[in-house]
Amino acid sequence: MEMSLLFLYNGLRGMKKAFEIIDHTADVGIIAYGADVEELFSNAALALFSLITEPESVEEKLHLDLEVSSEDRDSLLVEWLNELIYLFDVKHILFNRFDIESLTHNELKATCYGEDFDPIKHKIKIGVKAATYHMLKLDKDGDGYKAQIILDI
């Protein structure tokens, strides 16, 4: 695998990068950053939707409350992304903002903002089919947090 940096996306807070996209032989990965775990989860979701479409093309027209649970924090991150992948695949919703309202080591509550997929307005870049446990990492990174997730496409 080569870990080339394809692009950086600057989060709303301006200074710190929110995520990076990395290559994996058959698939693609994301590295998400956050000052806290909540921001990390939000940035990982942003990274996911930046792979699927152009995030600027998505407007906040609807919101959805989500609750996700899992065994531990690492797998919670995988489940969180899998839930969003599912919502896009079945309900065809694109999201571009995530309010993480509560987050424990195995439970997450969030409000997700976005709109229904419109083939005229939104260009779909790749079909992401699953978030995997392969090379999954979620660690402290200086003052904040960093996570790596490989996605099956």
């Binding site: 080339s4 058959a26 065994e71 699953a130 446990y133 392969h134 099956d152």
Partner: protein, 485 residues
């Protein structure tokens, strides 16, 4: 990514062993089928480490195998084969992969290149129109929850019962297009919801539908039994799987396996290898759900094959029968199956995981279809869209060495990103066109990701399995028209 520096012991020109003592915890050695030249590129990533990791799994018998098209996967390498004793072994969703029963179906025709080439654009357009493809593609058949339950249990027969294909198609499909033990109650509501709208769609990524021209016949006797008789004859290859349905089944059960790993005290070198004893409720639940996804994929390819026949019929103004559009075979590339094999003279029931590998049963085997009883089960090995594809057959040697398994394709060499960068500024569609290959896709940017440069040369892959004797090559065809999802 670091080069893999582990030790490989040469057995012969096509077989290489990772000794059992390479890593503490390996229960069996690794066995890699490759030429010396191919090993150089295989060592560039950590796929061989994954071969060693698979050898940790409880109940593994013989070797952890890698076919010459091996590349880096999740947990298991792609191109990996592992058989576990059903008494004390495990089943691992990672050993099947996300796209459960991703596979290929080959149709032959009585048409020649001279008849098809002048009408290739029309034909490709008709196919593109008739076979739903692309990102988030939804089917033209509407499947209710009740029908979905039937589809999961009946597989390809579900489609045949609706007039999409014939009984003969089922005879020349692995497992007759229906894997036993399918249990829809083990499939989540989420998975079913993802599956229902996508039934009868090609999908995206590396899935494709290809019109091919026979270029070489290596064994005319076996080829003629398959209905492949002339150089220049037209074939159609369909490559797709279980779409979002299989992905959700895998995702759901990986989560269950995560818990099972600690429940049963299984020590794993990689989290993605999560597994459970075959005979445990977790193992049985996965196998029941996996069979549903495998059957979904067979139904999917059955529907698509029917629409391919319809499209040809429309363009050439003759019935599919008149056009000689018979199915050669349909094989799974990602699956786990309970099979009986003979090990050291003893019969043993094992769960064979084939992840990016093809079943390759020999002549005379009870599961080799009647039409191929004397020559062996057809093995369909697609290459990348710019090169060629092969048809081979299974052998006795595959049966005795690799649990009746062989390679499945070219195997990726460059990541999607790297492929895109290497093709920067080049018009892939135009380059293919100049070589006589018409391509149509709903997603042009992704074409570069699937360019020939991204894949190993399929000819080298086939030569290894042929020389090693685990399959025998029969014919080779090149693409003339391609639909990429």
């Amino acid at each position: 990514m670091a080069r893999w520096q582990g030790q490989l012991i040469k057995i012969d020109d096509y077989r290489w062993k990772i000794p059992e003592n390479y890593k503490t915890g390996m229960r069996v050695p690794g066995l890699i089928y490759a030429s010396k030249e191919m090993l150089e590129s295989i060592r560039e990533e950590q796929a061989l480490e994954q071969v060693a990791n698979v050898a940790f799994l409880p109940g593994i018998v013989g070797y952890s195998f890698a076919m010459p098209d091996i590349h880096w996967g999740y947990g298991f390498p792609i191109g990996g084969v592992a058989a576990m004793d059903i008494k004390d072994g495990v089943v691992s969703p990672g050993g099947v992969g996300y796209d459960i029963n991703c596979g290929v179906r080959l149709l032959r025709t009585s048409l020649s290149e001279a008849e098809v080439r002048p009408r290739i654009n029309e034909l490709i357009n008709a196919l593109f129109h008739n076979v739903p493809s692309g990102l988030g593609s939804e089917g033209k058949i509407k499947v209710s929850q009740k029908e979905m339950n039937q589809l999961m249990v009946e597989g390809a027969r579900w489609a045949v019962k609706r007039g999409l294909g014939s009984e003969e198609d089922l005879d020349v499909t692995e497992e007759g297009g229906c894997l036993g033990g399918a249990d829809p109650s083990k499939v989540s509501d989420k998975a079913a919801k993802r599956g229902m709208p996508q039934a009868g769609t090609l999908g995206s990524g590396n899935h494709f539908l290809e019109i091919q021209v026979v270029k070489e016949i290596f064994d005319s006797h076996i080829a003629s039994i398959m209905g492949i008789t002339e150089i220049g004859q037209i074939l159609v290859l369909i490559h797709t799987g279980s779409r979002g349905f299989g992905h959700q089944v895998c995702t759901d059960h990986l989560r269950v396996m995560e818990v099972a790993v600690s429940k049963y005290g299984i020590k794993l070198p990689d989290r993605q290898l999560a597994c459970a004893p075959i005979e445990s409720s977790e193992g049985q639940d996965y196998l029941g759900a996996m069979a549903c996804a495998a059957n979904y994929a067979w139904a999917n390819r059955q529907c698509i094959a029917h629409w391919v026949r319809e499209s040809f019929s429309k363009i050439f103004g003759k019935s599919p029968e008149k056009l000689g559009m018979r199915q050669v075979y349909d094989v799974a590339h990602n699956i786990a199956k309970i099979e009986e094999h003979t090990i050291d003279g003893h019969k043993l029931k094992v769960c064979v995981h084939r992840k990016g590998a093809t079943r390759a049963f020999p002549a005379g085997h009870k599961d080799t279809p009647r039409r191929y009883k004397e020559v062996g089960q057809p093995v369909l090995v697609p290459g990348d869209m710019g090169r060629c594809s092969f048809v081979a057959v299974g052998t006795q040697k595959a049966m005795s060495e690799t649990f009746g398994s062989t390679c499945h394709g070219a195997g990726r060499m460059l990541s999607r990103g790297a492929a895109k960068r290497s093709m920067k500024g080049r018009d892939v569609a135009r380059e293919l066109e100049s070589r006589g290959i018409t391509i149509k896709t709903g997603n042009i940017p992704s074409l570069a990701e699937e360019a020939s440069q991204a894949y190993k040369d399929i000819t080298e892959v086939i030569d290894v399995v042929h020389q090693a004797g685990i399959s025998r090559k029969v014919a080779m065809a090149i693409p003339m028209g391609v639909i990429k999802g």
